[in-house]
Amino acid sequence: MGIVKTSDLVYEYIRRDEDGNVEGITTAVDKVNLDVTQGEFVAILGHNGSGKSTLAKHINAILNPTEGTVWVDGMDTSDEEKVWDVRQTAGMVFQNPDNQIIGQVVEEDVGFGPENMGIPTKEIWERVEESLRAVGMYQFRKYSPNKLSGGQKQRVSIAGVLAMHPKCIVLDEPTAMLDPSGRKEVIRAVRGLNQVEGVTVILITHYMEEIIHADRVYVMDRGKIAMEGTPKEIFSQVERLKQLRLDVPQVTLLAYELKKRGLDLPDGILTAEELADCIMRV
Protein backbone atom coordinates (compact mmCIF):
# COMPACT_ATOMS: atom_id res chain seq x y z
CA MET A 1 0.00 0.00 0.00
CA GLY A 2 1.21 3.52 -0.79
CA ILE A 3 1.88 6.23 1.72
CA VAL A 4 -1.48 7.89 1.06
CA LYS A 5 -4.41 5.90 -0.24
CA THR A 6 -8.10 6.73 -0.43
CA SER A 7 -10.84 4.39 -1.44
CA ASP A 8 -14.21 5.68 -2.61
CA LEU A 9 -13.79 8.80 -0.49
CA VAL A 10 -16.95 10.86 -0.19
CA TYR A 11 -17.31 14.08 1.79
CA GLU A 12 -20.52 16.03 2.11
CA TYR A 13 -20.89 19.55 3.48
CA ILE A 14 -24.25 19.78 5.16
CA ARG A 15 -25.79 23.23 5.21
CA ARG A 16 -28.20 23.89 8.02
CA ASP A 17 -30.59 26.78 8.66
CA GLU A 18 -30.80 28.56 12.01
CA ASP A 19 -32.87 25.80 13.63
CA GLY A 20 -30.43 23.12 12.59
CA ASN A 21 -32.62 21.64 9.86
CA VAL A 22 -30.79 20.35 6.85
CA GLU A 23 -31.10 22.86 4.03
CA GLY A 24 -29.00 21.14 1.49
CA ILE A 25 -26.06 18.84 0.97
CA THR A 26 -23.05 19.64 -1.17
CA THR A 27 -20.87 16.74 -2.15
CA ALA A 28 -17.40 18.26 -2.15
CA VAL A 29 -15.51 15.05 -2.75
CA ASP A 30 -17.22 12.30 -4.69
CA LYS A 31 -15.86 8.73 -4.79
CA VAL A 32 -12.21 9.61 -5.06
CA ASN A 33 -9.56 6.90 -5.32
CA LEU A 34 -6.03 8.09 -4.79
CA ASP A 35 -2.87 6.05 -4.43
CA VAL A 36 0.42 7.79 -3.77
CA THR A 37 3.65 5.82 -3.39
CA GLN A 38 6.48 6.81 -1.07
CA GLY A 39 8.82 9.36 -2.64
CA GLU A 40 6.45 10.46 -5.37
CA PHE A 41 5.66 14.04 -6.38
CA VAL A 42 1.95 14.16 -7.03
CA ALA A 43 0.05 17.25 -8.12
CA ILE A 44 -3.67 17.71 -7.69
CA LEU A 45 -5.08 20.28 -10.05
CA GLY A 46 -8.48 21.86 -10.18
CA HIS A 47 -10.26 25.20 -10.40
CA ASN A 48 -12.02 26.83 -7.43
CA GLY A 49 -14.61 24.63 -5.80
CA SER A 50 -13.39 21.42 -7.40
CA GLY A 51 -12.94 19.82 -3.97
CA LYS A 52 -9.17 19.69 -3.98
CA SER A 53 -8.72 21.46 -0.64
CA THR A 54 -11.36 19.29 0.99
CA LEU A 55 -9.47 16.25 -0.24
CA ALA A 56 -6.24 17.67 1.23
CA LYS A 57 -7.81 18.16 4.63
CA HIS A 58 -8.67 14.47 4.74
CA ILE A 59 -5.05 13.45 4.39
CA ASN A 60 -4.21 15.44 7.52
CA ALA A 61 -7.22 14.11 9.48
CA ILE A 62 -8.69 17.60 9.78
CA LEU A 63 -11.81 16.26 8.11
CA ASN A 64 -13.18 12.76 8.39
CA PRO A 65 -14.76 11.07 5.37
CA THR A 66 -18.53 10.83 5.14
CA GLU A 67 -18.05 7.58 3.26
CA GLY A 68 -15.01 5.58 2.24
CA THR A 69 -11.61 5.42 3.90
CA VAL A 70 -8.34 7.34 3.88
CA TRP A 71 -5.13 5.57 4.87
CA VAL A 72 -1.93 7.41 5.67
CA ASP A 73 1.03 5.07 5.98
CA GLY A 74 -1.39 2.25 6.71
CA MET A 75 -3.28 4.18 9.42
CA ASP A 76 -6.99 4.84 9.03
CA THR A 77 -7.41 8.62 9.47
CA SER A 78 -10.81 8.27 11.13
CA ASP A 79 -9.22 6.27 13.97
CA GLU A 80 -9.31 8.80 16.84
CA GLU A 81 -6.30 7.31 18.57
CA LYS A 82 -4.12 7.64 15.50
CA VAL A 83 -4.95 11.30 14.74
CA TRP A 84 -1.64 12.69 16.02
CA ASP A 85 0.42 9.99 14.31
CA VAL A 86 -1.38 10.73 11.04
CA ARG A 87 -0.71 14.45 11.38
CA GLN A 88 2.93 13.79 12.09
CA THR A 89 3.28 11.45 9.11
CA ALA A 90 1.49 13.73 6.68
CA GLY A 91 2.33 17.35 7.42
CA MET A 92 0.29 20.14 5.92
CA VAL A 93 1.16 23.59 4.57
CA PHE A 94 -1.72 26.02 4.09
CA GLN A 95 -2.43 28.87 1.74
CA ASN A 96 -2.01 31.99 3.85
CA PRO A 97 1.51 32.22 5.26
CA ASP A 98 0.54 34.80 7.90
CA ASN A 99 -2.13 32.60 9.41
CA GLN A 100 0.03 29.55 9.98
CA ILE A 101 3.13 31.02 11.58
CA ILE A 102 2.79 30.82 15.34
CA GLY A 103 6.24 31.86 16.58
CA GLN A 104 7.46 35.42 16.87
CA VAL A 105 10.90 34.43 15.66
CA VAL A 106 11.52 32.18 12.64
CA GLU A 107 13.39 29.50 14.59
CA GLU A 108 10.73 29.39 17.31
CA ASP A 109 8.04 28.80 14.73
CA VAL A 110 9.94 25.92 13.16
CA GLY A 111 10.39 24.45 16.64
CA PHE A 112 6.65 24.57 17.37
CA GLY A 113 5.81 21.19 15.83
CA PRO A 114 8.65 19.27 17.52
CA GLU A 115 7.76 20.97 20.84
CA ASN A 116 4.23 19.65 20.53
CA MET A 117 5.54 16.17 19.84
CA GLY A 118 7.57 16.23 23.04
CA ILE A 119 11.00 16.02 21.40
CA PRO A 120 13.93 16.72 23.78
CA THR A 121 15.31 20.28 23.62
CA LYS A 122 18.66 19.35 22.09
CA GLU A 123 17.05 17.42 19.25
CA ILE A 124 14.58 20.26 18.56
CA TRP A 125 17.52 22.55 17.85
CA GLU A 126 19.07 19.99 15.50
CA ARG A 127 15.80 19.54 13.64
CA VAL A 128 15.20 23.29 13.38
CA GLU A 129 18.64 23.87 11.92
CA GLU A 130 18.36 21.02 9.44
CA SER A 131 14.86 22.03 8.28
CA LEU A 132 15.76 25.68 7.87
CA ARG A 133 18.82 24.70 5.84
CA ALA A 134 16.71 22.40 3.65
CA VAL A 135 14.50 25.32 2.56
CA GLY A 136 17.36 27.82 2.45
CA MET A 137 16.12 30.00 5.30
CA TYR A 138 18.84 29.32 7.88
CA GLN A 139 20.32 32.82 7.69
CA PHE A 140 16.91 34.25 8.63
CA ARG A 141 16.49 32.13 11.78
CA LYS A 142 16.57 35.12 14.17
CA TYR A 143 14.18 37.26 12.10
CA SER A 144 10.64 38.18 12.98
CA PRO A 145 8.23 36.56 10.46
CA ASN A 146 6.69 39.99 9.87
CA LYS A 147 9.90 41.14 8.24
CA LEU A 148 9.94 38.36 5.59
CA SER A 149 8.46 38.30 2.10
CA GLY A 150 5.54 36.01 1.26
CA GLY A 151 7.74 33.40 -0.40
CA GLN A 152 10.12 33.40 2.55
CA LYS A 153 7.25 33.05 5.02
CA GLN A 154 5.89 30.12 3.07
CA ARG A 155 9.33 28.47 3.12
CA VAL A 156 9.38 28.92 6.89
CA SER A 157 6.00 27.18 7.05
CA ILE A 158 7.42 24.30 5.01
CA ALA A 159 10.41 24.11 7.35
CA GLY A 160 7.98 24.03 10.27
CA VAL A 161 6.33 20.95 8.85
CA LEU A 162 9.64 19.39 7.84
CA ALA A 163 10.94 19.65 11.42
CA MET A 164 8.29 17.11 12.41
CA HIS A 165 10.02 14.60 10.11
CA PRO A 166 6.94 13.70 8.09
CA LYS A 167 7.00 11.05 5.40
CA CYS A 168 4.68 13.10 3.27
CA ILE A 169 3.90 16.82 2.92
CA VAL A 170 0.57 18.07 1.65
CA LEU A 171 0.69 21.62 0.31
CA ASP A 172 -2.72 23.20 -0.07
CA GLU A 173 -2.28 25.98 -2.65
CA PRO A 174 0.92 27.22 -1.03
CA THR A 175 1.54 29.77 -3.78
CA ALA A 176 -1.93 31.22 -4.25
CA MET A 177 -1.16 34.40 -2.30
CA LEU A 178 2.37 34.95 -3.60
CA ASP A 179 3.86 37.02 -6.39
CA PRO A 180 5.52 35.18 -9.34
CA SER A 181 9.03 35.27 -7.84
CA GLY A 182 7.77 34.04 -4.46
CA ARG A 183 5.91 31.27 -6.28
CA LYS A 184 9.08 30.10 -8.01
CA GLU A 185 10.99 30.21 -4.73
CA VAL A 186 8.46 27.98 -2.99
CA ILE A 187 8.15 25.49 -5.85
CA ARG A 188 11.94 25.21 -6.02
CA ALA A 189 12.05 24.46 -2.28
CA VAL A 190 9.31 21.85 -2.65
CA ARG A 191 11.10 20.12 -5.52
CA GLY A 192 14.29 20.12 -3.48
CA LEU A 193 12.56 18.35 -0.63
CA ASN A 194 11.19 15.73 -2.96
CA GLN A 195 14.43 15.06 -4.81
CA VAL A 196 17.04 15.57 -2.10
CA GLU A 197 15.23 14.53 1.07
CA GLY A 198 12.96 12.00 -0.61
CA VAL A 199 9.81 13.35 1.05
CA THR A 200 6.57 12.44 -0.68
CA VAL A 201 4.91 15.63 -1.92
CA ILE A 202 1.25 16.18 -2.67
CA LEU A 203 0.93 19.62 -4.22
CA ILE A 204 -2.50 21.11 -4.61
CA THR A 205 -2.69 24.03 -6.97
CA HIS A 206 -4.50 25.71 -9.80
CA TYR A 207 -1.37 26.96 -11.52
CA MET A 208 -0.53 24.68 -14.42
CA GLU A 209 3.13 25.76 -14.54
CA GLU A 210 3.72 24.23 -11.12
CA ILE A 211 2.79 20.71 -12.07
CA ILE A 212 5.30 20.33 -14.92
CA HIS A 213 7.81 18.64 -12.62
CA ALA A 214 5.32 16.31 -10.93
CA ASP A 215 5.56 12.54 -11.38
CA ARG A 216 1.83 12.23 -11.61
CA VAL A 217 -1.10 14.62 -11.89
CA TYR A 218 -4.70 14.24 -10.84
CA VAL A 219 -7.18 16.74 -12.23
CA MET A 220 -10.29 17.28 -10.14
CA ASP A 221 -13.63 18.62 -11.25
CA ARG A 222 -16.79 18.87 -9.18
CA GLY A 223 -15.43 16.52 -6.53
CA LYS A 224 -14.46 13.79 -8.97
CA ILE A 225 -11.15 12.88 -10.49
CA ALA A 226 -11.51 13.94 -14.09
CA MET A 227 -8.06 13.10 -15.42
CA GLU A 228 -5.02 11.22 -14.22
CA GLY A 229 -1.57 10.76 -15.71
CA THR A 230 1.89 12.22 -16.20
CA PRO A 231 2.09 15.96 -16.92
CA LYS A 232 2.79 15.12 -20.58
CA GLU A 233 -0.31 12.97 -20.87
CA ILE A 234 -2.43 15.64 -19.19
CA PHE A 235 -1.12 18.49 -21.30
CA SER A 236 -1.67 16.66 -24.55
CA GLN A 237 -5.41 16.94 -23.98
CA VAL A 238 -5.73 20.68 -24.42
CA GLU A 239 -9.42 20.58 -25.37
CA ARG A 240 -10.35 18.59 -22.29
CA LEU A 241 -8.39 20.96 -20.02
CA LYS A 242 -10.19 23.95 -21.49
CA GLN A 243 -13.48 22.22 -20.81
CA LEU A 244 -12.42 21.90 -17.16
CA ARG A 245 -11.72 25.64 -17.06
CA LEU A 246 -8.00 25.25 -16.55
CA ASP A 247 -5.37 27.46 -18.14
CA VAL A 248 -2.91 25.58 -20.30
CA PRO A 249 0.67 26.96 -20.12
CA GLN A 250 1.40 29.34 -22.97
CA VAL A 251 4.08 27.12 -24.53
CA THR A 252 1.79 24.12 -24.59
CA LEU A 253 -1.00 26.21 -26.03
CA LEU A 254 1.26 27.60 -28.74
CA ALA A 255 2.42 24.11 -29.70
CA TYR A 256 -1.18 22.94 -29.76
CA GLU A 257 -2.28 25.78 -32.02
CA LEU A 258 0.70 25.23 -34.33
CA LYS A 259 -0.13 21.57 -34.56
CA LYS A 260 -3.74 22.36 -35.37
CA ARG A 261 -2.50 24.51 -38.25
CA GLY A 262 -0.68 21.50 -39.67
CA LEU A 263 2.75 21.66 -38.12
CA ASP A 264 4.09 18.20 -37.26
CA LEU A 265 4.68 18.48 -33.50
CA PRO A 266 4.33 15.90 -30.73
CA ASP A 267 1.62 16.25 -28.06
CA GLY A 268 2.17 17.69 -24.57
CA ILE A 269 5.10 20.03 -24.99
CA LEU A 270 5.87 21.56 -21.61
CA THR A 271 8.84 23.92 -21.91
CA ALA A 272 10.02 26.55 -24.35
CA GLU A 273 13.28 24.65 -24.99
CA GLU A 274 11.36 21.52 -25.88
CA LEU A 275 9.19 23.43 -28.31
CA ALA A 276 12.20 25.13 -29.90
CA ASP A 277 13.87 21.73 -30.36
CA CYS A 278 10.82 20.24 -32.02
CA ILE A 279 10.34 23.19 -34.33
CA MET A 280 14.00 23.00 -35.38
CA ARG A 281 13.52 19.37 -36.30
CA VAL A 282 10.48 20.21 -38.40
Partner: protein, 270 residues
Amino acid sequence: MLRDITLGQYYQTESVIHRLDPRVKLGGTLLYIISLFFYKNPLGYAVAILFLAIVIRLSHVPFRFMVKGMRAILFLLILTVGFNLFLTPGTELISFWRLTITKEGLQTAVTMAVRLTILIIGSSIMTLTTTPNNLTDGLEKMMGPLKIFRVPVHEVAMMMSIALRFIPILLEETDKIMKAQIARGADFESGNIFKRAKALVPLLVPLFISAFRRANDLALAMESRCYRGGEGRTKMKPLVYRKRDWIAYGCIVLYLAVGITLGRLVWTRA
Protein backbone atom coordinates in the same frame (compact mmCIF):
# COMPACT_ATOMS: atom_id res chain seq x y z
CA MET B 1 5.33 53.08 10.62
CA LEU B 2 2.53 51.01 12.05
CA ARG B 3 4.59 47.88 11.53
CA ASP B 4 7.25 49.02 13.95
CA ILE B 5 4.98 49.36 16.96
CA THR B 6 5.92 46.90 19.65
CA LEU B 7 3.93 46.18 22.72
CA GLY B 8 5.47 47.32 25.95
CA GLN B 9 8.59 49.38 25.55
CA TYR B 10 11.47 46.98 25.16
CA TYR B 11 14.81 48.75 24.79
CA GLN B 12 17.23 46.66 22.73
CA THR B 13 20.75 46.62 24.13
CA GLU B 14 23.25 44.29 25.79
CA SER B 15 23.40 44.24 29.58
CA VAL B 16 23.45 41.94 32.58
CA ILE B 17 19.89 42.93 33.39
CA HIS B 18 18.74 42.07 29.85
CA ARG B 19 20.28 38.63 30.13
CA LEU B 20 18.70 37.77 33.49
CA ASP B 21 16.03 35.11 33.61
CA PRO B 22 12.60 36.77 33.27
CA ARG B 23 11.49 35.03 36.46
CA VAL B 24 14.18 36.88 38.43
CA LYS B 25 13.05 40.18 36.99
CA LEU B 26 9.37 39.51 37.62
CA GLY B 27 9.93 38.30 41.16
CA GLY B 28 12.45 41.02 41.91
CA THR B 29 10.13 43.77 40.70
CA LEU B 30 7.27 42.41 42.75
CA LEU B 31 9.38 42.22 45.91
CA TYR B 32 10.77 45.67 45.26
CA ILE B 33 7.30 47.18 44.95
CA ILE B 34 6.11 45.47 48.13
CA SER B 35 9.23 46.63 49.99
CA LEU B 36 8.34 50.26 49.26
CA PHE B 37 5.26 49.97 51.43
CA PHE B 38 7.23 48.81 54.47
CA TYR B 39 9.41 51.83 54.92
CA LYS B 40 8.67 54.16 57.77
CA ASN B 41 11.55 56.64 57.45
CA PRO B 42 13.57 58.42 54.75
CA LEU B 43 16.49 56.05 55.24
CA GLY B 44 14.49 53.16 53.74
CA TYR B 45 13.66 55.23 50.67
CA ALA B 46 17.29 56.24 50.36
CA VAL B 47 18.25 52.57 50.24
CA ALA B 48 15.51 51.92 47.64
CA ILE B 49 16.68 54.79 45.44
CA LEU B 50 20.30 53.69 45.72
CA PHE B 51 19.35 50.13 44.70
CA LEU B 52 17.31 51.47 41.79
CA ALA B 53 20.17 53.70 40.65
CA ILE B 54 22.54 50.73 40.58
CA VAL B 55 20.08 48.64 38.57
CA ILE B 56 19.49 51.48 36.08
CA ARG B 57 23.25 51.84 35.70
CA LEU B 58 23.64 48.12 35.04
CA SER B 59 20.75 48.00 32.55
CA HIS B 60 22.42 50.40 30.06
CA VAL B 61 18.99 51.90 29.33
CA PRO B 62 19.12 55.70 29.05
CA PHE B 63 17.40 57.33 32.00
CA ARG B 64 15.13 59.45 29.80
CA PHE B 65 13.32 56.29 28.65
CA MET B 66 12.21 55.70 32.21
CA VAL B 67 11.16 59.29 32.66
CA LYS B 68 8.99 58.86 29.56
CA GLY B 69 7.00 56.27 31.45
CA MET B 70 6.42 58.84 34.16
CA ARG B 71 4.54 61.18 31.84
CA ALA B 72 1.61 58.79 31.69
CA ILE B 73 1.05 58.94 35.43
CA LEU B 74 1.88 62.60 35.91
CA PHE B 75 -1.78 63.49 36.34
CA LEU B 76 -2.28 60.77 38.93
CA LEU B 77 0.84 61.93 40.73
CA ILE B 78 -0.32 65.54 40.93
CA LEU B 79 -3.76 64.48 42.09
CA THR B 80 -2.37 62.27 44.86
CA VAL B 81 0.06 64.89 46.03
CA GLY B 82 -2.63 67.57 45.92
CA PHE B 83 -5.17 65.62 47.95
CA ASN B 84 -2.61 64.61 50.55
CA LEU B 85 -1.20 68.08 50.79
CA PHE B 86 -4.44 69.88 51.41
CA LEU B 87 -6.74 67.37 53.03
CA THR B 88 -4.64 65.85 55.79
CA PRO B 89 -5.61 67.22 59.21
CA GLY B 90 -2.86 68.17 61.64
CA THR B 91 -0.59 71.04 62.66
CA GLU B 92 -1.16 74.02 60.41
CA LEU B 93 1.81 75.32 58.42
CA ILE B 94 0.48 77.67 55.80
CA SER B 95 -3.08 78.73 55.20
CA PHE B 96 -4.51 80.78 52.38
CA TRP B 97 -8.04 81.20 51.07
CA ARG B 98 -9.78 77.94 52.03
CA LEU B 99 -6.74 75.70 51.71
CA THR B 100 -4.43 74.73 54.52
CA ILE B 101 -1.20 72.83 54.30
CA THR B 102 -0.36 70.85 57.39
CA LYS B 103 2.93 69.42 58.52
CA GLU B 104 1.54 65.89 58.36
CA GLY B 105 0.05 66.60 54.93
CA LEU B 106 3.37 67.77 53.55
CA GLN B 107 5.05 64.67 54.93
CA THR B 108 2.58 62.21 53.38
CA ALA B 109 2.53 64.09 50.09
CA VAL B 110 6.28 63.92 49.72
CA THR B 111 6.37 60.26 50.77
CA MET B 112 3.64 59.42 48.27
CA ALA B 113 5.36 61.26 45.44
CA VAL B 114 8.67 59.54 46.08
CA ARG B 115 7.02 56.16 46.48
CA LEU B 116 5.01 56.43 43.26
CA THR B 117 7.96 57.69 41.24
CA ILE B 118 10.33 54.90 42.20
CA LEU B 119 7.54 52.37 41.88
CA ILE B 120 6.88 53.34 38.27
CA ILE B 121 10.54 53.61 37.34
CA GLY B 122 11.25 50.31 39.07
CA SER B 123 8.63 48.43 37.13
CA SER B 124 9.48 50.13 33.85
CA ILE B 125 12.98 48.67 34.14
CA MET B 126 11.43 45.22 33.88
CA THR B 127 9.50 45.99 30.67
CA LEU B 128 12.42 47.90 29.20
CA THR B 129 14.85 45.03 29.60
CA THR B 130 12.63 42.00 28.86
CA THR B 131 11.10 41.08 25.50
CA PRO B 132 7.33 40.46 25.68
CA ASN B 133 8.01 36.92 24.56
CA ASN B 134 10.41 36.30 27.39
CA LEU B 135 8.02 37.87 29.84
CA THR B 136 5.25 35.51 28.76
CA ASP B 137 7.57 32.54 29.17
CA GLY B 138 8.55 33.73 32.63
CA LEU B 139 4.93 34.22 33.66
CA GLU B 140 4.00 30.75 32.45
CA LYS B 141 6.81 29.16 34.41
CA MET B 142 6.13 31.18 37.58
CA MET B 143 2.41 30.53 37.52
CA GLY B 144 3.04 26.83 36.96
CA PRO B 145 2.01 25.79 40.49
CA LEU B 146 -1.45 27.33 39.91
CA LYS B 147 -2.20 24.41 37.58
CA ILE B 148 -3.14 22.44 40.69
CA PHE B 149 -6.07 24.82 41.08
CA ARG B 150 -7.00 24.21 37.45
CA VAL B 151 -5.84 27.61 36.29
CA PRO B 152 -5.11 27.20 32.54
CA VAL B 153 -1.63 28.68 32.83
CA HIS B 154 -0.21 27.31 29.60
CA GLU B 155 -3.26 28.33 27.61
CA VAL B 156 -3.18 31.89 28.92
CA ALA B 157 0.51 32.19 28.09
CA MET B 158 -0.10 30.76 24.60
CA MET B 159 -2.93 33.24 24.06
CA MET B 160 -0.68 36.10 25.10
CA SER B 161 2.09 35.13 22.75
CA ILE B 162 -0.31 34.62 19.83
CA ALA B 163 -1.82 38.04 20.53
CA LEU B 164 1.67 39.53 20.45
CA ARG B 165 2.37 37.81 17.14
CA PHE B 166 -0.82 39.10 15.53
CA ILE B 167 -0.76 42.71 16.76
CA PRO B 168 1.50 43.93 13.93
CA ILE B 169 -0.47 41.90 11.35
CA LEU B 170 -3.80 43.33 12.49
CA LEU B 171 -2.37 46.84 12.66
CA GLU B 172 -1.24 46.54 9.08
CA GLU B 173 -4.66 45.25 8.14
CA THR B 174 -6.37 48.17 9.93
CA ASP B 175 -4.21 50.51 7.92
CA LYS B 176 -5.20 48.77 4.69
CA ILE B 177 -8.94 48.77 5.45
CA MET B 178 -8.75 52.42 6.52
CA LYS B 179 -7.14 53.38 3.23
CA ALA B 180 -9.70 51.34 1.29
CA GLN B 181 -12.56 53.07 3.10
CA ILE B 182 -10.99 56.52 2.70
CA ALA B 183 -10.63 55.80 -1.02
CA ARG B 184 -14.37 55.19 -1.07
CA GLY B 185 -15.12 58.45 0.69
CA ALA B 186 -15.13 57.49 4.35
CA ASP B 187 -14.21 60.32 6.71
CA PHE B 188 -12.38 59.37 9.90
CA GLU B 189 -11.09 62.78 10.87
CA SER B 190 -13.81 65.41 11.07
CA GLY B 191 -16.83 65.81 13.32
CA ASN B 192 -17.22 65.54 17.06
CA ILE B 193 -16.24 62.52 19.10
CA PHE B 194 -19.57 60.71 18.53
CA LYS B 195 -19.39 61.21 14.79
CA ARG B 196 -15.86 59.95 14.73
CA ALA B 197 -16.70 56.91 16.82
CA LYS B 198 -19.53 56.15 14.43
CA ALA B 199 -17.18 56.46 11.49
CA LEU B 200 -15.12 53.64 12.93
CA VAL B 201 -17.88 51.08 12.41
CA PRO B 202 -17.02 50.39 8.74
CA LEU B 203 -13.44 49.91 9.90
CA LEU B 204 -14.12 47.59 12.82
CA VAL B 205 -16.59 45.25 11.12
CA PRO B 206 -14.22 44.04 8.36
CA LEU B 207 -11.37 43.98 10.85
CA PHE B 208 -13.27 41.67 13.19
CA ILE B 209 -14.39 39.40 10.38
CA SER B 210 -10.85 39.07 9.17
CA ALA B 211 -9.55 38.47 12.69
CA PHE B 212 -12.02 35.61 13.15
CA ARG B 213 -11.02 34.11 9.83
CA ARG B 214 -7.37 34.30 10.81
CA ALA B 215 -8.10 32.72 14.16
CA ASN B 216 -9.85 29.84 12.42
CA ASP B 217 -6.94 29.32 10.01
CA LEU B 218 -4.42 29.51 12.80
CA ALA B 219 -6.29 26.95 14.88
CA LEU B 220 -6.27 24.55 11.92
CA ALA B 221 -2.58 25.12 11.33
CA MET B 222 -1.78 24.56 15.00
CA GLU B 223 -3.78 21.35 15.13
CA SER B 224 -2.19 20.02 11.99
CA ARG B 225 1.16 20.60 13.67
CA CYS B 226 0.08 18.35 16.52
CA TYR B 227 -0.73 21.08 19.07
CA ARG B 228 -2.80 19.59 21.86
CA GLY B 229 -2.31 21.88 24.84
CA GLY B 230 0.55 22.10 27.28
CA GLU B 231 0.44 18.44 28.29
CA GLY B 232 3.52 16.49 27.19
CA ARG B 233 5.01 19.48 25.44
CA THR B 234 8.74 20.14 25.49
CA LYS B 235 10.40 23.53 25.19
CA MET B 236 12.81 24.64 22.53
CA LYS B 237 14.13 27.40 24.78
CA PRO B 238 13.55 26.21 28.33
CA LEU B 239 14.15 28.70 31.13
CA VAL B 240 17.15 27.58 33.15
CA TYR B 241 18.56 29.47 36.10
CA ARG B 242 22.22 30.31 35.65
CA LYS B 243 24.79 31.55 38.10
CA ARG B 244 24.01 35.20 37.41
CA ASP B 245 20.33 34.60 38.22
CA TRP B 246 21.17 33.21 41.65
CA ILE B 247 23.50 36.17 42.25
CA ALA B 248 20.64 38.49 41.29
CA TYR B 249 18.33 36.75 43.75
CA GLY B 250 21.05 37.20 46.38
CA CYS B 251 21.23 40.92 45.64
CA ILE B 252 17.49 41.29 45.97
CA VAL B 253 17.44 39.51 49.32
CA LEU B 254 20.36 41.61 50.52
CA TYR B 255 18.52 44.79 49.45
CA LEU B 256 15.38 43.66 51.26
CA ALA B 257 17.32 42.90 54.44
CA VAL B 258 19.15 46.24 54.47
CA GLY B 259 16.13 48.25 53.39
CA ILE B 260 13.71 46.80 55.88
CA THR B 261 16.13 46.96 58.80
CA LEU B 262 16.99 50.59 58.17
CA GLY B 263 13.60 51.60 56.86
CA ARG B 264 11.71 50.41 59.92
CA LEU B 265 13.99 51.97 62.50
CA VAL B 266 11.97 54.32 64.65
CA TRP B 267 13.56 57.69 65.20
CA THR B 268 14.35 57.90 68.87
CA ARG B 269 15.87 61.31 69.20
CA ALA B 270 14.75 61.99 72.67
